[in-house]
Symmetry: C2
Subunit: 359 residues, 2 copies
């Protein structure tokens, strides 16, 4: 008999336009005496005073900007943890406000405030042993599903791998579609495509049940509504995309991503390509695996006037390419989901090297 994951859900969800205005009231009962809340905010908002003034800081609360120029790393998490300990002492909680990287940073920092050592020690499955501090996720970009996932993906000294555990999901998420309205169109596209790509990968994969299928189908339908069917972008698009991201994240409970993510992980490890953009660069070259979806994807690129970077692996050393191949082939469950249990016969090092050369 199969064993099914006992999926830990986010405790509280509030969804609605303007829901961000409820944050002060939501945090109030979670404040422990004078211990501050830490707001970890995507540095994109550094020069957005109108938004920053809406962050409900009280007393000794701290607002820190998260530099998400590169993918979040174990070093960055450990550094933030040390900084918060030194500057704030014990805190009431951490509130991540931003895209998937900021979500993952907030989750990881929460856990590292209560679990000893370096976050690199916890990259893997169920290695975290204690609940983190109270943590809240507030997305300002939609698509990754990080708001509902049980992982916080980090670049470590040896691997790009998440802190996967039942302690990782947020205690609270605030889904306010107005917050994603100001995202730059290219960034919105790349992040939104993370959802599209993982739905294609999971729905066409070999690991799937009715729970994940229902969520994956809904997420894909919502992605298509906003990126394929609608002309232009409006408030309704923000609502649908935010819901697509949530549903796409939930669909991962009993499914797995596939070729695009496996290849993109290698790219990220060696070139530090950001996740959404990396997935797009890779997916564009996967016609042999996902023919119809890749055609649809190219239509979306055209419609939204997105220029994908080309030739990103040109000029890499042989050692760098070999590292990419090794990192990617290490993602066994992704390959098995995409190609079946005999994936190793189908995806040889040679074939993968040729795929990287095309990117």
């Amino acid at each position: 008999m199969s064993t099914f994951r006992n999926f830990k859900m986010v405790d509280y969800v509030v969804f609605g336009r303007g829901a961000f205005g409820q944050l002060d009231g939501i945090l109030a009962p979670r404040r422990q005496g004078g211990a501050p809340m830490v707001f970890l905010v995507d540095h994109f908002f550094r020069d957005k005073p109108a938004f920053l003034s809406r962050v409900p800081q009280r007393g000794k609360d701290r607002l820190l900007f998260a530099d998400v120029t590169e993918e979040p790393s174990t070093r960055q998490v450990d550094g933030l943890r040390d900084q918060i300990r030194a500057e704030c002492g014990a805190i009431s909680g951490i509130v991540g406000i931003g895209g998937g990287s900021t979500m993952d940073l907030a989750k990881a920092v929460s856990l590292m405030l209560t679990n000893a050592g370096s976050s690199a020690d916890y990259q893997g499955w169920d290695l975290v042993t204690r609940p983190g501090v109270y943590k809240v996720g507030i997305p300002t970009l939609s698509g990754t599903g990080a708001e509902v996932s049980r992982t916080a993906v980090l670049l470590g000294p040896e691997k790009k791998l998440g802190l996967n555990s039942d302690f990782t999901p947020f205690d609270q998420i605030v889904l306010d579609p107005d917050l994603i309205a100001g995202a730059p169109a290219t960034q919105r596209f790349f992040t939104g495509m993370d959802c599209y790509v993982h739905c294609i990968e999971s729905l066409q994969g070999t690991y799937l049940n009715a729970f994940s299928r229902a969520y994956g189908e809904k997420a894909l339908e919502l992605c298509r509504q906003v990126f394929v069917e609608k002309d232009g972008w409006d408030g309704d698009s923000d609502e649908r995309l935010m819901m697509a991201s949530y549903a796409g994240g939930m669909s991962i409970a009993y499914s797995q991503v596939g070729v695009a993510h496996a290849v993109s992980y290698g790219l990220a490890y060696v070139l530090h390509t950001r996740h959404g953009e990396g997935n797009c660069i890779v997916f564009d070259q996967l016609e042999e695996f996902y023919p119809e979806a890749v055609r649809e994807f190219r239509g979306m690129l055209q419609k939204h006037r997105i220029e994908l970077p080309r030739g990103v692996t040109r000029g890499l050393s042989e050692a760098q390419v070999e590292k990419m191949v090794t990192v990617s082939l290490g993602m066994a469950p992704l390959w098995a989901n995409a190609l079946g249990e005999d994936w190793q016969r189908k995806m040889t090092r040679e074939r993968l090297r040729a795929l990287y050369a095309r990117l």
Copy 2:
């Protein structure tokens, strides 16, 4: 600015065929010393020894049958609470195994083991002040959405109304489609139609946002797949119906039911008509409110060879009818959702009396 409900989710969900077999392992870390688990099982299973032998009883665990011949009541909840206290003392948790009535009984008994007084004192919104004992919901009928809701609907001395609170949702649900495979077809239909009807009511209502729309649309699509499109019933139908019920329950977060539920509440209060069946009896007469859906519903009745009870209000006294009308009109948010804020001008006592006379 509107205020959106901060929705408390179920903590853990496991979904999959055969997942019931994981229950022993799921309960293990929740057992507190020798304190027993109480399994509250729908009395339908009284003569199903093969199923009963799979309930993972250990040590001093107790298995109690829940008589769900009638809708669950505050008296029944208080009685079960007293019985458990007298026979078991402190318990590790309560596991409800059955349909929506058993789910609601388990949730309510859990709360009444830690909150003083009678469950009738807590019928309403956010009156419960303490977490209940650990509670698990395992549906053997799908459609009500009780497995994910923040209410436990009870017939009380004065009203049919739920214990609505953040403490009401289950700590754990086990969604095993194999468990609904043995349900009698008529019961399965009535319970499944609860989902269909509340999706129609919420999607056509005036209270709705993108979160609830996404869940409601998915639930409705799954209901149509199993009750309209598919010929015959198979394991795939069980999976889809179980997922429809879950999604339909989630859709209630930011939506509201409508005319069928409002009218059916009056019926239940006076005649003790069971919820799913009552909704069907009422919905069949609501062509003026939901014309297309009522036609689709009648097609499903025919396809599944369901004979609805007719003339159920015949012979009632005038006082009984007036009571029905009063109970139903007391459900203000349901009427406002269905007919708009000026619903009282549209749904007069006379009009509602005439509607009851047709049932």
